[in-house]
Amino acid sequence: MDYRTLMSAEEEVSFSLRARYLARGFQPYRMSKFEEYDLYARNRDFLVSRQVITFTDTDGKLMALKPDVTLSIAKNYDGESLQKLYYNETVYRPSQSGGFCEILQSGVECMGPLGETQVEDVCALAAECLSDISENFVLSVSDLGILEELFSRFETSEEMQAALCACISTKNAVEASRICKEQGLSETFCTLLIQLISTSAPLDRARDMLLPLFEKAGIARAADALSALCASEELAAFGERIIFDFSVLPNRRFYNGVVFSGYVSGASQEVLSGGRYDKLMCRLNKDAGAIGFAVYLDRLPPKEGKR
């Protein structure tokens, strides 16, 4: 009997992802359903939603039903060697239609002394996971280092950065252009920003479009970051399924470097998101880099054989 026919979409994908994680040397991580609320109160901006289910434990401690997995794993990192962990956990978050719901989430975290190899490994694993969900997938990749260098080079204020980030994440070139003009930002900055917002292309094409603009703007590290992404043979094997898209923009207070979102045909939202979050580790007083991603099993399109 083929047991896969009895499985729900979430179950089938969950098993298949587990095989992918193990093949790349990730080890299982199990955790309690509860975590001290204080961890989330101190890192509210990292959470998908600020609303958390809390209760008072038998010892009087204020606890929470986990809304997130990464924070717990990062908190418990022992700070010594490279750790590659995967999980399949239930988290509790507000649903779009109101009220809390249980969400099955699968994912990986890689923590410790990170190099380009580990970054490439996790990005390639993300693409593999998407391919298990559907043949028709896109992994949108960006690098926050490009944005940080751009902001720093052209001396933009924090308020302006926040306004521009809102435009970048929604591909709102009209509003970005208006802000640039209103704030008197240079033509070079404005042109580059608008081009970045409008770019959504396979990595090598994005590099060819953007490198000349990076050189003109004098942001060399941005050029290196994009070139590093393009140099990866593992990512190149996925061809046009991996694209550079500047609108991938998670919270800059926690994320840095490579960030990505995964989409599959038939799903109305991203089904995977992740990136490098050294800054979160720093906030938790961990002297280590970290990169990971989560697959949102509640967002998968309905099962129709191979999606």
Binding site: Q96, N136, V138, S140, T170, K171, N172, A173, V174, E175, S200, I243, S247, Y263, S265, G266, A267, S268, Q269, E270
Partner: protein, 214 residues
């Protein structure tokens, strides 16, 4: 995923005007112009499907993926902040979000300002930037009545020609921001229908540029 482009248009004059722009861009659907109680209109040749939606609901349809793209006013996008791409300004439905009050009103900074509005988020953000303490009265229609009856000091509302304000002895005391209709797209769908959506977006931008030059 259907290879049709699913488009949510706002019911009313704005939606009809926008449909004309979409049709000129090559996304016509003649069925939509016929008198009918149908809700969904399809053109198999152009691979496009339209539906008329309450204007404030367009972002919901797009965010949830029921529509691939849609047209919504900047006021609705700012108020509800849907998780969508805002791809271009259609240059129609132009008006402004403004603070209005009874003629001759002056703001007494010593006390809490009472504000009537349908746009609670926009009003809160505007006054937060000024560090102004406000008391919001959330109304759903005939907002102009509030200061006339003394219920509030000011209103935050959309102003087009200003005729309604003038006829009720109200005046604009401050413009918050300009408003116009925007093309929005579902972020996930955009990854797979980029070429059609970009083709439409470019055609709309070109038409706007032509209109502004003329």
């Amino acid at each position: 995923m259907s290879d049709f482009l699913n488009i949510a248009l706002p019911k009313g004059r704005l939606g009809e005007k926008v449909y004309g722009m979409f049709a000129r861009a090559g996304f016509s659907c003649d069925e939509i112009l016929r008198e009918s109680r149908k809700l969904i209109f399809e053109d198999a040749q152009n691979r496009v499907r339209y539906f008329w939606v309450k204007p404030s609901d367009v972002p919901i349809y797009v965010e949830r993926g029921a529509a691939d793209i849609g047209v919504a006013g900047r006021d609705i996008l700012l108020e509800y902040a849907p998780n969508v791409y805002e791809l271009c300004d259609l240059g129609v439905g132009r008006c402004r979000m403004a603070v209005a009050a009874r003629r001759g009103f002056t703001d007494d900074n010593a006390r809490t300002l009472r504000v009537a509005t349908k746009f609670v988020s926009i009003a809160k953000a505007h006054y937060a930037k000024k560090c102004r303490d406000i008391d919001i009265v959330h109304l759903n229609g005939s907002i102009e009545l509030a200061p006339i009856l003394g219920m509030t000091d000011v209103i935050v509302d959309i102003v087009e020609t200003g005729t309604t304000l003038k006829e009720n002895d109200l005046e604009v005391v401050e413009t918050i921001l300009p408003i116009s209709a925007r093309l929005i797209a579902n972020k996930a769908v955009y990854q797979f229908k980029k070429s059609e959506i970009d083709r439409l977006s470019c055609a709309l931008i070109a038409e706007l540029a032509e209109r502004e030059q003329a």
